[in-house]
């Protein structure tokens, strides 16, 4: 089965991704974003990128999809650049698996 890739974020950050074949869902606040996420997670999107600014405000919505194989919800930095929230998520999953943070000691 063929899946597609979606990206959710503020319009300015995501418009460019149209050119590479992503489905773009502009969202200006977390409410729109989480509603969009719930909606498209049921459709055939296997990977959903979401910008950091929005992701930070809706951790519960994203956590829902942590344990299911599809879709993968991946946080990427938006236009305003990264503030480490994406890496913070990686760190979280290390803590979950190992019980302690052993990768990002600094």
């Amino acid at each position: 089965m063929d899946y597609r890739i979606a990206i959710i974020g503020d319009a300015e950050s995501v418009v460019g991704f149209m050119a590479v074949g992503f489905s773009v869902f502009p969202a200006d606040d977390e409410e729109t974003a989480s509603r969009t996420l719930f909606k498209i997670a049921r459709e055939n999107y296997a990977v959903i990128y979401i910008t950091e600014d929005l992701a930070k405000k809706m951790p519960e919505a994203i956590a829902r999809y942590k344990d299911v194989p599809i879709p993968a919800v991946i946080v990427i930095p938006g236009r305003r650049g990264s503030d480490g929230y994406g890496l913070f998520n990686v760190k979280k999953s290390v803590e979950r698996a190992v019980g302690a943070d052993i990768l990002f000691k600094d």
Binding site: E12, V15, G16, M18, A19, G21, A46, K66, V90, V98
Partner: protein, 220 residues
């Protein structure tokens, strides 16, 4: 802690010790599984971290190029240019299995046009937009790979958590429970045996005493 209440019979003891053996074997297996998963997880997550750092810095460049592009092209023009190709990328998802955990493998095809080909009209757009899109297209494989790694890490983390719970449940609850159950049955059985011996000795004493008394009476 809840004890196992069973009849103190040899039959029950045998059953319990069979369960104990199974539990021990399961515990060992699960422990091995956990260790192996952990190894895989750490490899994955290390790659994930590196790739994420790379992708994040590259993406910042792409965003910079895009904003330059949007400053030289009117916003309307740009949206139009990007939208018109109507590219619909397709993503093929297959799975590989690691210790029976399904890990996704993605294969993304942008659909239409070449790998970095801009399939919009060049007439109203600037060269900056072209190069920004080309940069983005170049970054794409890493971006997809990042999704793959990050999802794999999440799935592995979940499985490790589950396995660890099972290992701990076996190690600290089930196995000690069986051991205590077996010990208590053994004690009960030993106790029964001792009381039986004592009873037999007592009966024998009585019988001997009766014999002696009878002998004495005959002699008298």
């Amino acid at each position: 802690m809840a004890e196992i209440r069973v009849n103190p019979t040899r039959m029950e003891m045998k059953k319990l010790s069979a369960r104990l053996t199974t539990a021990r074997r399961g515990h060992k297996l699960l422990k091995d599984k956990r260790d192996e998963l952990m190894k895989k997880f750490l490899d994955t997550v290390r790659l994930n971290k590196e790739l994420r750092e790379q992708v994040e810095s590259k993406l910042a460049e792409v965003h910079a190029s895009l904003s330059i592009a949007s400053s030289v092209t009117s916003r309307k023009m740009m949206t139009e240019a990007l939208m018109i190709p109507g590219r619909q990328g397709t993503l093929k998802v297959s799975y590989r299995s690691a210790m029976n955990v399904k890990l996704p493998v993605y294969d993304f095809d942008m659909g239409g046009g070449g790998k970095s080909g801009c399939n919009y009209g060049f007439a109203f757009t600037s060269g900056e937009l072209d190069s920004a899109v080309a940069e983005l297209a170049e970054l794409l494989p890493s971006l997809v790979r990042l999704a793959e790694l990050e999802k794999s890490a999440q799935m592995l983390a979940e499985e490790i958590e589950k396995t660890r719970r099972r290992v701990n449940a076996l190690e600290y609850i089930m196995i000690p429970q069986y051991e205590r159950g077996i010990a208590s049955i053994r004690m009960k059985l030993d106790e029964n045996e001792r009381s039986n011996t004592v009873r037999l000795m007592k009966v024998k004493d009585m019988a001997v005493k009766r014999e002696i008394d009878a002998a004495k009476k005959r002699d008298a």
